[in-house]
């Protein structure tokens, strides 16, 4: 069983890397959204420190949204996803593996670069670590919610706007608490409360998300 999941994980990594232009687009989107605020607002440190939390989260959300449109679509089009549903292995675990590999390939680069972006927003010291930690805890939830939306809309030709309409209300708690965690740590307040919430949401979405996503996949390829 674990061997099968490892094969799927590695194969998805490989395939995603060969579709590198998609990934690069979402990564560039993240960086650009983060850059556009200092460029338009001016480089006033107090202002930038105030907005970094929401900007970071919104940029991560947009990048996830863009990348996740393609998590299931190519596999549905070439028919390999329906072969996976006919498999004897539980679809939930397969989907979970797929989402995790997608997270590793789309969100990890964002997390890695977020430290640099934070320092360009004049964030210093421990707060940089909190920014990275916040993204580390919130992106899995965002990816799982987006995967559900992608699975529901996989049969629709232009799913972008509809996916946004589904994802944004559902991911609101993560956005709120993520932005607050960053804001707290910058203003010197203990940020552990929102971070614990994000951790809770991460476990919640990671455990229930794949179940619902697998059900949605089965419906969508019907």
């Amino acid at each position: 069983m674990m061997k099968v999941l490892r094969i799927i994980f590695l194969k998805d990594l490989k395939v995603s890397l060969r579709r590198w232009s998609d990934l690069l687009t979402s990564f560039i989107l993240f960086v650009l959204v983060c850059l556009i605020f200092p460029l338009t607002l001016g480089n006033d440190p107090s202002l930038l420190l105030k907005i970094i939390g929401p900007v970071m989260l919104v940029a991560a959300l947009l990048a996830t949204l863009l990348a996740m449109q393609n998590i299931f679509r190519p596999d549905v089009l070439n028919g390999s996803l329906e072969q996976l549903t006919l498999n004897t292995y539980p679809l939930t675990l397969i989907i979970c593996t797929k989402i995790f590999s997608f997270w590793a390939i789309t969100s990890l680069p964002l997390i890695l670069i977020s430290g640099f972006i934070a320092s360009s927003y004049y964030v210093t010291g421990n707060s940089i670590l909190i920014v990275i930690l916040t993204l580390l805890l919130s992106t899995p939830s965002l990816v799982h919610i987006s995967a559900l939306a992608a699975a529901l809309t996989v049969a629709i030709r232009y799913p972008g706007a509809l996916m946004a309409l589904i994802i944004i209300p559902l991911s609101l708690p993560i956005m709120i608490f993520g932005a607050k965690a960053i804001e707290f740590s910058i203003s010197g307040i203990d940020a552990s409360a929102p971070l614990y919430f994000l951790l809770g949401m991460m476990f919640f979405t990671c455990s229930l998300g794949p179940v619902v996503t697998a059900a949605a996949i089965k419906i969508s390829i019907d």
Binding site: K11, V15, D75, L77, N78, L86, N87
Partner: protein
């Protein structure tokens, strides 16, 4: 040694208000071949997808070894290999990687190489699937089925896109599968070459 059998009772499928097919019933046991024929658009592919469990029928039941396929104890999918119009090859992987990605069955190396040899695929194994021609892609997808060691093969127009030698080999393999007690459901257009079926369902008349 259990005898496998598949029983279909009064299957019907509607999409919105359009009837795709209705009152399909048949029985299939080991070594038998069922052919589903009919003109384009008569619901052959839909019927196959319903039999596989990909599409939920509006009415009727699919029973595998006396257990309905939606029963949790029914191990229908362990015995089922399906190939539709889509070849399920990932274009970003090579033909070899696509074959290895079918992680079920522990077939012998000899068998694998003889199938690939017969399809003439050996030269192309390390090419990306997106670079292969339609016929070659079909052959890779078919070798996956031939090597799967499943009992029930469900093939949607298996010989489409195949050249003569490929068709000959596939037909021989299908016959060998039936002789070993396998089961086979295929669709075909009327002018396709195919094996002589034990029973036939013609969707034109239904």
């Amino acid at each position: 040694m259990t005898q496998y059998n598949l029983q279909i009772n009064f299957l019907e499928l509607y999409r919105n208000d359009d009837r795709i097919f209705s009152e399909i019933s048949f029985h299939l046991s080991e070594g038998q071949h069922l052919l589903i024929s009919g003109a384009n658009g008569t619901g052959k592919t839909s019927l196959l997808r319903v039999i596989c469990g990909l599409t939920i029928p509006t009415g009727g039941t699919i029973v595998w070894n006396q257990l309905a396929t939606n029963n949790i104890d029914c191990h229908y999918h362990e015995h089922l290999a399906y190939l539709g119009h889509k070849n399920a090859l990932i274009p970003e992987l090579t033909a070899r990687e696509n074959l290895e990605y079918t992680f079920e069955g522990n077939r012998s190396m000899n068998r694998t190489s003889s199938v690939l040899e017969a399809f003439g695929l050996n030269k192309y194994l390390d090419q990306y699937a997106e670079k292969l021609s339609n016929g070659q892609i079909r052959k890779v997808a078919l070798s996956r089925i031939l090597l799967s060691e499943k009992t029930l093969w469900i093939l949607d127009e298996p010989v489409a896109n195949l050249d003569t030698s490929g068709t000959q080999f596939l037909l021989a393999e299908m016959q060998a599968h039936l002789d070993q007690g396998g089961m086979l459901i295929t669709t075909s257009n009327l002018n396709d070459q195919t094996l002589k079926p034990n029973s036939e369902i013609n969707l034109d008349k239904a």
